[in-house]
Symmetry: C2
Subunit: 307 residues, 2 copies
């Protein structure tokens, strides 16, 4: 079976290891701090690839940002990565097949091949962290759209009356309601409108200072205000997921990201199947964790090099 | 080049003709009234296929309703078609390859192959009539989801606070705001909230009796109330289209259906590219008209029989 070097280029560290077509990890995983300049990132990647050159058939790179249709460049600058990063032509790193893909798409590939989405036909992956990202694979093929930028699901509008401004500058993006940032927004709005705030453990905090941790902690302590804010947040998440279920008709939705440990996926699955037009969608929590980008990049590189 | 008999099974008539892989019509188009029972529909289709048997390689059928993954049955009963229709196994109609597909998907295939979407990579088709339907083709392949029911875009939720009940029983579906029915709903709501209603040519009408025709006619007459209602309707349509642009990253959106003649697609294109995350989407009006279902069914049948 062919093998790829999977490399996850994160804002703080680069994680890498060797995987096969099934998404199984075949080597010890290694990491190194992400250098501060684009040139140093390039030379670090080159060195990592050279060290593994004789053991691999292809190289997959997972990165934040929008990736071009040819899977050779990261087009958009991302705040966590240095100036000039979007000028790198990754295909020049080696004479092995090089394949760059957006981190959310890589995570989706990892879950499809060897995670919670294994064995399903159409897997929709939703990553809920500070923002919301997504990926979708159907019949083994990642859906990329016309320029490689599909599944910008965080920008799905869940209101049509310009009620809340998103950090992206647009209005009513799903991620401004249903991400980690969204939970903080729910708390801020709720503090002004829910009578429960007056008796909450956070009643002396400024609404804008209530954190996502405050709310999840308050839910554990059964604080009425926190429970109400949290349920509103779940309702916002639910509305977006139902729309996406009707759009993609997935047999499996995989939820990942920093917020996913707070979500009751069984309850969400039940509600989605009650509300969506077609009902037989499983909702699962991601299994590949921090290795998702690395595994998915490797799997996608091997799939691309076999075409 | 191979040829297919394309058959569009409508609520009132069955339209059919011979098309090639390019979606070109090769024969005179014929039509016959849609019989009132499922048995008669079956025997009528059988007769039509037999008449054309020697000239064709495959048969494509376009129908309202949800189609199974094997493209042999229409699973959901549709109000315009008789009891027992969902019991028909269309694959038994002939020993030629038979391929049934949902009418919105067929229309999308027709536009992609030989209509407004010709030459584009990822074509999203949105049909705006009494309701809203959709289809999406990328790299020549129709996206069907896990059970063949993807692109239920009419159910996209554009509010998250249960503000308007849809005819489907759910709340805040896009089609309850942005279809023909949606325009009527906009008029009804607007009559209660817009001060312009007091001086409108429809001021003596009951809000629920204002029709879509009243509004489009009133817009031509420059009635302030009608203009305001119409612009609200366009805004609702826009919100859904921006979300779908961010989700599918299409290079072309084709608008079809009874309401599309009222839509300024150039203005919509400009606004979508200003608002969506990635900006280079063309918005066009469908070209294949009443032949869309017939052409698309034929094209899809030939594509399926060549696999």
């Amino acid at each position: 079976m062919k093998k790829a070097l999977g490399i996850d280029i994160g804002g703080t560290k680069i994680l890498y290891g060797i995987v096969n077509e099934k998404g199984e990890i075949l080597s010890e995983l290694k990491k190194t701090p992400t250098p501060k300049t684009a040139d140093e990132i390039y030379s670090t990647l080159k060195k990592i690839i050279e060290e593994n050159y004789n053991d691999i058939d292809a190289v997959g790179l997972s990165s934040a940002g929008a990736v071009n249709l040819e899977n050779t460049r990261v087009l958009s600058s991302t705040p966590n990565l240095p100036d000039g990063y979007n000028q790198i032509d990754f295909s020049t790193l080696s004479d092995k097949k090089i394949y760059v893909e957006n981190d959310a798409n890589c995570a989706c590939a990892a879950e499809y091949q060897n995670g919670a989405g294994k064995g399903f036909r159409t897997v929709l992956m939703i990553t809920i962290g500070t923002g919301i990202g997504g990926g979708m694979i159907s019949e083994g093929k990642l859906f990329r759209g016309s320029t490689g930028n599909a599944l910008e699901v965080g920008s799905l509008k869940i209101f049509a009356d310009k009620r809340q401004k998103c950090t992206c500058g647009r209005y009513d993006c799903w991620e401004s309601y249903a991400s980690g940032t969204g939970l903080k927004n729910c708390a801020k709005t709720g503090a002004q409108t829910y009578p429960e705030f007056k008796t909450s453990i956070y009643k002396d905090k400024l609404p804008q200072d209530i954190t996502t941790y405050d709310i999840t902690d308050g839910v554990e302590k059964n604080d009425d205000f926190c429970v109400k804010v949290f349920n509103q947040w779940i309702d916002y998440m639910f509305v977006g997921l139902v729309s996406l279920t009707d759009i993609f008709n997935p047999d499996c939705i995989v939820i990942s990201g920093g917020m996913c440990s707070f979500i009751d996926v069984e309850d969400l699955e039940k509600r989605i199947n009650e509300e969506s037009v077609v009902s037989n969608t499983k909702v699962k929590t991601a299994l590949t964790g921090n290795n998702a980008g690395m595994i998915g990049a490797g799997v996608l590189a091997l799939s691309a090099s076999s075409r």
